[in-house]
Symmetry: C2
């Protein structure tokens, strides 16, 4: 089937309207009419070839929500018309230790929603800036939010799970004091989720102007990280820090805020490394620096259900597909509160 999509033909070209094909659903496939697709910073890195190995045409998008429009013969969990989502993963080996544990995100053969290997034309996966997508049922998520919130649910599929998974893995909950560094697409979800989990949340930003917004998102306290004396008031007091900032920055000022046995988890990967952390900061309190990457399929479903139960969605700004190039420029300037979402109806011919 031939559909419309928005993507780029080369790393130095703007995104434009493209015509792509999707496979007919196999026995275990779910075909989805995409209603909305969130715009992740990874989309921009990939499509502009800022990461190695981008294949063209490149159609980004891995925060996909929509309705089931066809199912394969063996699909029992999804029916026509169901509200569903697809995140960063559309395939994996399905038999390694990671897949067996529902941690498909750590499978060595995880297939990303775009730029991943596939038998389908053109030989690599094409993402959610498109009218439809066909995905194996294992990687399809059920959405129980009210339909009116559907566009704002889209960013949960990447920004939501990327922050939810480390918060759960490092046992954030009542009685815990948690830092969230950066108040952008990921960070604003981190604040909402950590707050809903019952933790005391301290948001860290470099912008004085974000102080009130962070409180509105659910932060109990907001610290402008350039102010050393403000930072000092939280010295050795945080159980966990979720660091969402991908730009290289000084990690040591945050380690100093962790209690003994505290962990700072990075979920953003800078193009060049952070300044090297002081080893003494780790050794003196048995602290850890960790990384975390999106989340597995069962945990993504758990996150969606948690968000539906707590009335959590992303704060979004809706755009038409043909506004994506402008949106990228605004995203680079941090000029979005907090996530662009494409209205995929704008892809209609």
């Amino acid at each position: 089937m031939t559909i419309n999509a928005y993507g780029a033909l080369a790393g130095d070209r703007a995104l434009e309207l493209l015509s792509i094909t999707r496979r007919a659903p196999s026995a275990h496939d779910v075909q989805i009419d995409i209603a909305y697709c969130g715009v992740c910073h990874s989309d921009l890195h990939q499509v502009r070839s800022e990461w190695a190995g981008t294949l063209y045409p490149c159609v980004p998008g891995h925060e996909i929500v929509g309705r089931v429009s066809a199912v394969g013969a063996h699909v029992t969990d999804f029916q026509l018309g169901d509200l569903v989502g697809v995140g960063c993963i559309v395939d994996s080996c399905q038999h390694c230790e990671e897949c067996d544990e529902g941690l498909e995100n750590y499978c060595d053969n995880m297939v990303g929603t775009y730029n991943g290997p596939t038998q389908d034309a053109p030989g690599h996966t094409l993402g959610g800036y498109s009218q439809k997508i066909v995905v194996h049922e294992r990687y399809v998520l059920r959405i129980t939010h009210p339909e009116a919130q559907l566009a704002a649910v889209a960013p949960l599929l990447c920004a939501g799970i990327t922050t939810y998974s480390p918060l759960r893995h490092w046992h954030v909950g009542p009685g815990k004091k948690v830092g969230v560094v950066g108040i952008g697409g990921l960070g604003h979800m981190g604040i909402k989720l950590a707050h809903a989990m019952g933790a005391y949340v301290v948001a860290f930003t470099t912008s004085e102007s974000k102080r009130e917004a962070a409180k509105a998102l659910g932060a109990d306290d907001v610290v402008v990280s350039r102010h050393a004396e403000e930072m000092d008031t939280h010295a050795k007091s945080l159980d966990f820090i979720l660091n969402t900032v991908a730009a290289p920055h000084d990690l040591d000022i945050f380690f100093a805020l962790l209690k003994r046995d505290g962990t700072m988890a990075l979920v953003g990967a800078p193009a060049t490394p952070h300044p090297s952390p002081q080893v003494f900061n780790l050794i003196m309190k048995r602290r850890s620096l960790a990384g975390s990457m999106i989340g597995g399929i069962p945990e993504t479903q758990e996150m969606l259900d948690f968000c539906a139960e707590h009335g959590i969605v992303a704060d979004i700004e809706m755009i038409r597909a043909d506004e994506i190039n402008v949106a990228y420029e605004r995203m680079l300037k941090g000029d979005v509160k907090y996530r662009f979402v494409i209205d995929n109806a704008s892809l209609m011919a």
Copy 2:
């Protein structure tokens, strides 16, 4: 009481014979006639003022073993003649969360065995390169090894606990595959301990010449870390890495060997930072970089008992106190297998 010691009067002077005083034992004090004292790399850093804040005269030494020669009125656990040890800690606040949990090593007011604050003359603590030491009973360890092994027990008080504590904290045991990076004072203990705990131990060294020695210490496999293809055979296979190397080095080649959720713990602190680790290496498999510093008093006793039970001591080379300056030069060249120990009888007038 006035005793002989070996120490330095300034950072640029050699160590020499000094006369120092020790307090008379208070109600909870144990007075120890020091038989042997291990030589730790920290001793050299401190006495040469390579770390900030060295106070002079500086008498290093925190791997102390000997016999009880006096006890305070309220001491019930130790008697005259008992074989005992003192490690890196001679005092702490005794009422914080860390002290309450027996993690005095992470107490904000931990007092080191040398260069720490004290009421005793000259106002800072003086270590084990001396004839006697007087220490609060809380910080005195019981030694159950045969007396003939006493000199080789000394390094357990720092090198032993510094490696034992992270191995235990990160659950090293049967069924686990563990890397030990560096085969020196710390690393040779790490290999022995991880082996005794039942793990499969892979030793990493930059020296082809250490291959056989590492196997003799208990390594199941030895990898020369300069050989990329040898490293690759262990890719994504290690549960935990104990990294004992204090010199700045590439951490990324070791991260690549950790399984999902694996941790590399650093126990050496380089004077200048390691090259900054690649964040992708942490994120892709939810790996962690951690630090660990010595161990608490209960765990130090547990380690000594574990070593006695398993017949574990350090591999040592005995020296006289007046050989310490030469020993430091040899230590800097890695020319010791694997720990110098001072025979404190050589301090007699």
